[in-house]
């Protein structure tokens, strides 16, 4: 079955099982490996992408659910890695191993798109489902605030 959706600004047609998880389609069929497979149970956030601007866990989103919709992955967040969050991530050397960071950035991007200047509580609540085994949470929060322009760093 062919499913059409707009991916990172380009219309794509995917011939696949409509129940295939979006993450599989992105990584295995479309070669976009920036989005990571973490737990496969929507528990860790590593696979977070945007569907119509909302952060979703692509490991549990059936491909049929994005038909006719707009999907953005970490590869499409900015043209050349200059999204304020990406720049803040580099400036503050946020990642350690890096595996969870694409998901972290995508959730943070959804947050800033809706709440441009979030407070600590809003950041914590929105980011609560994105796990980092390296424990970079403090740098993640600092980078979000830097990208939001709410710190002097």
């Amino acid at each position: 079955m062919s499913i059409r959706f707009r991916l990172n600004g380009v219309d794509r047609d995917i011939d696949a099982d409509p129940e295939m998880p979006l993450l599989w389609a992105l990584r295995d069929l479309l070669g976009l490996t920036g989005t990571k497979y973490g737990c496969g149970h929507a528990l860790c956030g590593a696979c977070t992408v945007h569907v119509d601007g909302d952060a979703v866990r692509s490991c549990v989103v059936p491909l049929r659910r994005v038909s006719g919709r707009t999907v953005t992955t970490i590869e499409g967040l900015s043209a050349d890695g200059n999204h304020p969050l990406q720049k803040a991530w580099v400036d503050l050397a946020v990642p350690q191993c890096g595996f969870c960071q694409a998901g972290q950035i995508m959730t943070a991007a959804a947050l800033l798109a809706r709440i441009p200047h979030p407070n600590d509580s809003e950041i914590d609540r929105s980011m609560a489902g994105n796990l980092c085994r390296c424990g970079t949470y403090q740098r993640i929060r600092a980078a979000i605030k830097k990208a939001a322009g709410t710190t002097e760093d």
Binding site: V60, R114, G129
Partner: protein, 212 residues
């Protein structure tokens, strides 16, 4: 018997601590098997209409106070999960519209149907009940009074409650929760019939101490 001590609630399912009027009901209607729900006709032997009404609601409360239902009728900003129940993992907040916060919306993970391989439950319109509809820790009598109060039942009439309980898809998920979860007793149609007959008999509430 299920004890939900972690949230300060004591919910008895399958046992019966009936007193007064409901002790009389218990003598007239034998206890249900844990996975079954009695038909309204099973209560026909209770001649007093008010008593019958209360007994009907008490039976329906086995659905209303089942973990599949109360987990998303929480007493705070976070839902519960499991049969204990325990706080939702990952941690989530109800947000301004009872559907989560930015980045952690209910439908960020919960789809329009159960995702069996990932064991993620889902159905259309997955959301939390509003705070004023909290059932966690409540007795059947307290939930009964809540259901009749438009300020605490979403502004519904009793007729609308019958419609909601009988046909709503999110309510119906309780009977097909997937991934090895224990479903609520009986069937949605049977539950709707109990609620309809409860209302037909005057929507009387069981005594405060009654449990099923």
């Amino acid at each position: 018997m299920l004890l939900a001590r972690s949230i300060g609630a004591t919910i008895l399912i399958g046992g019966c601590a009936a007193t007064g009027r409901d002790a009389k009901n218990s003598a007239s209607v034998s206890p249900s098997a844990s996975s079954e729900l009695k038909d309204p006709a099973a209560f026909a032997g209770i001649s007093d209409t008010a008593e019958r009404s209360g007994a009907l609601f008490l039976e329906a409360s086995r659905v209303l106070l089942h973990p599949r239902c109360i987990n998303c009728h929480p007493d705070g900003d976070s839902p519960y999960q499991g049969n204990l129940p325990q706080l939702h993992d990952p941690p989530v907040s109800r947000g301004p519209d009872d559907r989560g916060v930015v980045g952690m919306r209910c439908n960020s993970c919960h789809q329009d149907q159960n995702i069996e391989l990932a064991a993620v439950p889902g159905v259309t319109n997955w959301r939390l009940a509003p705070r004023e509809m909290a059932w966690v820790g409540k007795t059947p009598a307290a939930v009964c009074e809540q259901l009749k109060d438009p300020k605490r039942n979403g502004g519904h009439t009793l007729e609308q409650i019958v419609e909601h309980t009988t046909y709503d898809e999110l309510v119906g998920w309780g009977w097909k929760p997937g991934a090895g979860r224990e479903p609520v007793p009986g069937t949605q149609a049977g539950f709707g019939a109990l609620i309809a007959e409860w209302i037909h008999t005057g929507a009387q509430c069981p005594v405060q101490e009654a449990r099923r």
